[in-house]
């Protein structure tokens, strides 16, 4: 199976010459794998995720995602790459002035799909995350768990090659967290999507085989 993500001697720092957050990391993630990245607070989990969706350029080494080296990739290629990613945030990052349905189809809107396709997909996705009745409501009218389900539906909208999730259940109660994990397991299993989740704790209810990386002392190590 081909690598969807490959890091080689990867070093990450917010400013050139500043203290490194990640140093000389080497790892590969294959298509369809479910990966947890854990580590103590401030260890650099979210920084690594930012680098994976191109928000932070590697200061040294290479980070190849979907065949593109994010250390050297241009703006337009990066934009194109992001349209094949589904990203889930701890604070949901929904557009509060848009309806739930419009939030869900954002990736389709960006890809230029017709409004008919967007409407059909919005219905399908909201049914999938059990939020059909909330299509016309606004994010701030929903509970945290419901907002995160909207976030997951948005991440799945365009059948992404890779889903990156930053503490997706960090703000949720146990019931809502279990629903989110279920949805992500399904995405990995049914769509063969690579899922990479940054979390401080791996859920006990998780049933899929997964790989586990830990970030410690600036290094990224696989736990066997």
């Amino acid at each position: 199976m081909s690598n969807v993500i490959h890091a080689s001697h990867l070093t990450l720092a917010y400013e050139k010459g500043e203290k490194e957050i990640i140093k000389d990391a080497n790892f590969s993630i294959k298509k369809g794998e479910f990966v947890f990245i854990t580590g103590p607070s401030g260890s650099g989990k979210s920084t690594l995720l930012k680098a994976l969706y191109g928000q932070l350029k590697p200061s040294e080494g290479s980070l190849v995602v979907g065949g593109l080296d994010l250390a050297t990739v241009g703006k337009s290629k990066l934009q194109e790459l992001r349209t094949h990613m589904g990203i889930i945030f701890q604070d949901y990052k929904l557009v509060n002035e848009w309806s739930v349905a419009k939030n869900v189809v954002l990736p389709l809107m960006i890809a230029g799909y017709s409004t008919e396709i967007q409407d059909t997909q919005a219905k399908r996705l909201l049914k999938h995350v059990k939020l059909s009745e909330h299509a016309e409501r606004y994010p701030l009218e929903l509970s945290g768990g419901e907002q995160q389900r909207v976030g997951v539906a948005r991440a799945l909208a365009k059948n992404p090659v890779v889903i990156l999730a930053d503490e997706p259940t960090g703000n949720l109660d146990d019931y809502s967290s279990n629903v989110i994990w279920d949805l992500m397991e399904n995405a990995c299993q049914q769509l063969d999507t690579t899922v990479l989740v940054v979390t401080h704790k791996i859920p006990t209810i998780f049933s899929l085989p997964y790989r586990h990386f830990i970030i410690e002392s600036k290094g990224v190590y696989e736990v066997h």
């Binding site: 928000q55 934009q79 194109e80 992001r82 990052k93 557009v95 990736p107 960006i110």
Partner: protein, 271 residues
């Protein structure tokens, strides 16, 4: 109510800038006509030993644009009343040549002095009279009005720009989250800034229409009934159809700069 307030907060400073631009255009056109009148009404008197052609004067100074010979016969007939024909002929022979010289532009008194120096450098020219005193007082008044208006327009533009920057801060706050989310999901710049552009574009149209309406009113109603000579004489140049294009172009330029400043400052993911 909030919707109207948000639009007005951009439309009003934009209108102030457009008013400044239009005032400048109108004033420039009106003063050009006035300046032309002053220029045409002005001429300097030159006395030469021998006759001289316009090209010769132009060789001495390029600002000289026209030449009018003062008929010597008329002068002689005035001064030789009651004298014999032969004396009259002798006077005519001894009389130098007189010319009124017109200029191509409206010059400051130092410019006139320079022309005088250039002309007097020629040995054939005996005397140059610039009538600088009366000319200078009109010029100074004219320059003062022009300068004052320019200062006023510049001040108005600066204050309006500050108001627009303030509005851009509000836009940034209101649209940042959406633009950042769209950026994360790979939306190109045009799509990210689309909503903001639409809002600003509509405001630009409104501001242009309102400023044009004000000047149409000034041109067709106020100026006609104002009783102010310079306004009534120059009614035609008070507002031209082409000005709508200039105003809309300027509004559009301000909108593009404002929107892109907001879009670029809203890059990156907020923690």
């Amino acid at each position: 109510m909030k919707f109207i307030k948000n639009h007005l907060m951009f439309i009003l400073p934009l209108m102030a800038i457009l008013l400044g631009i239009e005032f400048y255009l109108v004033f420039d056109r009106t003063t050009n006509t006035y300046e032309k009148g002053l220029k045409e009404g002005y001429s300097m008197l030159v006395v030469t030993k021998d006759p001289m052609e316009l090209s010769k004067f132009q060789d001495l100074n390029s600002h000289i644009s026209s030449l009018e010979k003062i008929k010597r016969d008329n002068i002689v007939s005035e001064v030789s009343k009651g004298v014999s024909k032969s004396t009259s002929k002798a006077i005519l022979k001894a009389l130098p040549y007189f010319y009124n010289l017109g200029l191509d532009t409206y010059l400051h008194s130092s410019g006139l002095e320079e022309i005088k120096r250039d002309l007097e450098a020629d040995k054939n020219i005996k005397r140059v009279e610039t009538f600088g005193g009366s000319y200078n007082s009109s010029y100074k008044l004219f320059s003062f009005i022009k300068f004052t208006l320019k200062i006023f327009i510049a001040f108005m533009t600066i204050v309006s720009l500050f108001l627009i920057i303030k509005q851009m801060e509000i836009w940034k706050y209101a649209h940042k989250e959406r633009m950042q989310v769209m950026e994360i999901f790979g939306a190109p710049l045009m799509l990210r800034s689309g909503v903001l552009f639409k809002v600003a574009f509509i405001d630009a149209i409104f501001a242009t229409i309102l400023v044009s309406a004000i000047f149409f009113y000034i041109k067709f109603y106020w100026a006609a009934q104002s009783g102010i000579d310079i306004m009534m004489e120059n009614q035609e140049v008070l507002f031209k159809l082409a000005d709508i294009g200039i105003l809309f172009g300027s509004a559009l330029l301000i909108v593009i700069i404002a929107v892109y400043s907001v879009v670029f400052s809203a890059k990156g993911v907020q923690e």
